[in-house]
Symmetry: C2
Subunit: 161 residues, 2 copies
Amino acid sequence: MKKETDFRNCSVARLLMVLGDRWLFLILREAFFGVRYYDRFKANLGIATNILSDRLKILTENGIMEKRTDPDDARRIQYRLTVKGLDLYPVILTMMQWGDKWLDDGQGPPLMLHHKTCGHRLKPIMCCSHCGKPVQAQDIEYTHRDGTDMLNPAVAAGKKK
Amino acid sequence: MKKETDFRNCSVARLLMVLGDRWLFLILREAFFGVRYYDRFKANLGIATNILSDRLKILTENGIMEKRTDPDDARRIQYRLTVKGLDLYPVILTMMQWGDKWLDDGQGPPLMLHHKTCGHRLKPIMCCSHCGKPVQAQDIEYTHRDGTDMLNPAVAAGKKK
DNA sequence: AAAACCGCTTGCAAAATGCAAGTTAAAAAT
DNA sequence: ATTTTTAACTTGCATTTTGCAAGCGGTTTT
């Protein structure tokens, strides 16, 4: 995929230009589980060292993770999620939920989430911050800020071809 | 990435084994915007034809989209999201939101969402279905169904190394 | 001082990608 | 009725990306 492509000036595309790789998401998943060290990422994911260092570089260069030398051992480097990185949690959660629902092996979800705040098992749902109702694809309309037609970006809104 | 890898029996990893590619997500984005035809996906994304047909094949083989011949023109094939595919909406939405927030070009979000149900601009948030509060990474605890330690999967839960 | 360990880098073979050209079947135009 | 156009691919090939193995340079332990 060419980096210079505009992709209809869309935030999904922008995210994918940074995170469009399986390994990146898997590293993030590990990070959300609390993993912080190179060798642990490597061991848990079975990822090749060159790929791992490349991906960690991408994540740090994009401000999603940050490097920190371990105060107890100067050889070790901590990789930690930044605020920007922590903000990716809903993406990982929604992925997990879809996998739980549609890629089940018949034994139920591999991982259970517990919501410490309320003490119950977490079932996350996407809600409208205004009305509080769950969000569904068919309830949403789109408007592009530059007036582009969503279905045919070559045609400006309101103008007929 | 090797397909046979288990990846700690995680739903995120399972999803990524199917959807671990930029193009797949971009095709899905188009589909959620209402795009249904091969030539429109091609034109809107600027994707090579062999890649597009390959990705559409992956999506249909995995039950995320389905092919349907157009009743008005037997040459044309409609690609539509299945229920399983529509269920990926929260993933796309959370991606969009993160991009809006962290990859802003200073002009605000490229795309505005309007919630038809309540008539207001949509700002989706992840909530706990039980207590209704927004979900944050630090409020969640994990338990693996097979007792695996999240940080070190080689160690069973409760056992010290 | 020697050995072990951590986080890489390098070399190279294999796979994935992107472009252009060709193919098949249906529909529209002549 | 025949030719032309259109839609959705497929194929060939050069370029790029990936993945494995081996090596390397600091830091800590022995």
